[in-house]
């Protein structure tokens, strides 16, 4: 019994040390973002703040269009999320429960596309968006992502588990296919939709490469692009960079802490996308 406790103690200590390593960079980000320059650039570095200041945040919101960027990110992520919830579940229903020629071939093509590295689509995607005259617009940030193959896959898998009898019964009751989708399917797949919503929003909020090549003006920047600008142009002002990093991190962190179990469970449902 004594030996067992020792082992547990070692395990808890190792895991706690690891957890400390996980948290320390976040702690450092927070305290660095409220340090005045003389405390920031001092040796040895201090683990506390003597005279906290909000100046880095004020700089962030006045020298850069930070508020506008937050709006941009929120707008793009919300639009893409809502659209994916609707279009992916609708297509997922068709792929799971309806019969039509070419169904399995089209679905296979969608799934195969998920396996292809995204770099392959990047350059033609840019050229197409440019041809449409969409560079530097919300359309370019939103439209290509309105219905992602992964979401269709997720919804299809979930809808497949719904018994056909329920759908048959609804048909006998005179429901049209769209009625079956709204009245029977949607209520039954809310957990899948929640997972899809969380992960679509997260991936859009944190999305970097696509906005990086599409956005050309300060007004259209999403929040991660602000970090890139800070990193490039204010490279010496680490307090301001840390403030920016905190602004990107905080919303997702709060959502994660609220819905931790859904997030972690979602890892398995969504792993195929990664």
């Amino acid at each position: 019994m004594g030996r067992l406790n020792w082992r547990k103690l070692v395990i808890v200590m190792v895991l706690s040390l690891g957890a400390l390593a996980m948290i320390l960079p976040y702690y450092w980000m927070v305290i660095s973002s409220i340090k005045p320059p003389d405390e920031l650039y001092t040796y040895p570095p201090r683990f506390y703040v003597q005279h906290p200041t909000l100046k880095p945040y004020i700089q962030l919101f006045t020298l850069l269009p930070m508020a506008r960027s937050l709006f941009n990110s929120l707008y793009v992520a919300s639009a893409v999320t809502l659209s994916n919830m609707f279009l992916c579940s609708l297509a997922g229903y068709a792929f799971a429960k309806l019969r039509f020629p070419g169904r399995d071939t089209i679905f296979l093509a969608l799934i195969s596309a998920m396996m292809i590295p995204w770099q392959v689509f990047l350059i033609p995607g840019f050229v197409i968006v440019k041809q449409f005259g969409w560079l530097n617009t919300f359309r370019a940030l939103i439209v290509p992502n309105l219905a992602m193959p992964f979401g269709i896959f997720l919804c299809r898998q979930y809808i497949m588990s719904i018994p056909d009898g329920l759908i048959e019964a609804a048909r006998i009751d005179g429901y049209h296919e769209f009625g079956i989708y709204t009245r029977v399917i949607l209520p039954l797949i809310t957990p899948a939709l929640a997972t899809l919503a969380i992960f679509t929003f997260l991936s859009q909020w944190n999305s970097f490469v696509w906005p990086l090549i599409i956005v050309q003006s300060g007004e259209m920047r999403t929040v991660p692009l602000i970090i890139a600008v800070l990193n490039g142009q204010f490279g010496a002002n680490f307090a301001m960079i840390m403030a920016g990093a905190l602004v990107v991190t905080l919303p997702m962190l709060l959502v994660f802490l609220l819905f931790q179990r859904q997030f972690i469970r979602g890892v398995f449902l969504t792993s195929i996308r990664e």
């Binding site: 082992r7 547990k8 395990i11 808890v12 895991l15 957890a19 996980m22 948290i23 960079p25 976040y26 450092w28 980000m29 660095s32 650039y41 040895p44 570095p45 279009l87 609708l90 297509a91 429960k97 309806l98 019969r99 039509f100 089209i106 596309a113 590295p117 770099q119 392959v120 689509f121 990047l122 350059i123 033609p124 050229v127 197409i128 290509p144 219905a147 056909d164 769209f178 989708y181 944190n206 970097f208 490469v209 991660p224 970090i227 490279g235 960079i241 840390m242 920016g244 990093a245 905190l246 990107v248 991190t249 997702m252 962190l253 931790q260 997030f263 972690i264 890892v267 398995f268 792993s271």
Partner: protein, 295 residues
């Protein structure tokens, strides 16, 4: 699904929006980039056909491409085994606890929900030069000498790797912990009866029983780390050098693609790089699956 009338045409309406988007932004680009990889194209003038010139240039006359490939290979070789074995050991240890698992999972998982760009910016500050960086301070306290992480050709890649291992730990940990919790407890009891210690049980019960999860996680980790970009972009830029950092020592394949495509606007050349990456990822996945299955 046996119904008297054969099929439902309305299904096409249901998949139409997704299918149109898929065609424009995935299907056409897939072939367009293959076409572009055989052309010279700067977006302003129409593409001109150059045959296999781009591929020949890349493979035989472009030291930057080889540097990028080498760096990417080193990155994958470093990040995948260290990241996965650490996560596996931590998960095996964590699954022995009766309480506190959820708390540990949450703490380790936080980087997974954080923007990689933000993480890279924070680590850039942690790695900062000799005086102010937290990591160099810790090294000095441990009696080691500080390192100019981001400005020395030798250390930039390890710095990016350390950051990536840290950031990916929680994702793999959560995966393994779920896998381990499905292993029947009786196997561990039997191993105990046979006199196996913790490591013995880890090697002879946990690892073999986790094989399917392990195959999946390794394959995904190799694919993802081969395409590393965001953290490389942040950690190598702002150093006064080009996109690869000092002497291209932090240049990876995707950052080279970005450099050719979107700073030099050599879209044909960049498309050729994209297809080489595609080929590498495809080949690596096949090799991985074969190796991990057969052993």
């Amino acid at each position: 699904m046996h119904r008297q009338f054969g099929w439902q045409p309305i299904a096409y309406l249901f998949i139409a929006p997704a299918l149109i988007l898929f065609t424009i932004f995935i299907f056409i680009p897939l072939f367009a980039s293959l076409f572009l990889s055989f052309t010279q194209y700067n977006v302003i003038h129409p593409p001109t056909w150059v045959g296999v010139t781009n591929f020949r240039m890349l493979l035989f006359h472009d030291p930057r491409f080889w540097k990028a490939l080498r760096n990417t290979a080193l990155y994958v070789i470093g990040v995948v085994p260290i990241g996965i074995s650490t996560a596996l050991v931590l998960a095996a240890a964590m699954e022995e606890l009766a309480h506190g698992k959820q708390l540990f999972k949450v703490l380790y998982f936080i980087p997974t929900v954080t923007s990689v760009v933000a993480i890279a910016a924070v680590w850039k500050w942690l790695f900062a030069g000799e005086k102010y960086g937290l990591i160099n301070y810790i090294l000095i306290q441990l009696g080691l000498s500080p390192v100019d992480w981001l400005l020395s050709p030798k250390w930039i890649l390890p710095a990016i790797m350390i950051m990536s291992i840290w950031a990916g730990l929680g994702y793999n940990l959560v995966f393994f912990s779920a896998g381990i919790s499905t292993i029947p407890q009786t196997l561990y009891e039997a191993a105990k009866v046979d006199g196996a210690n913790w490591w013995g049980r880890f090697w002879h019960v946990t690892v073999p029983m986790l094989r399917p999860t392990l195959v999946f996680v390794v394959v995904m980790a190799v694919i993802n780390s081969f395409q590393v970009f965001d953290q490389v972009y942040i950690m190598t830029s702002g150093t006064g050098e080009g996109i690869g950092g000092v002497l291209d020592s932090g240049l990876t394949l995707v950052s080279y693609l970005y450099d050719q495509g979107f700073t030099k606007f050599q879209m044909g050349y960049a498309s050729a790089i994209a297809y080489l990456i595609f080929g590498c990822v495809f080949g690596l996945t096949l090799v991985n699956i074969r190796m991990l299955r057969s052993r």
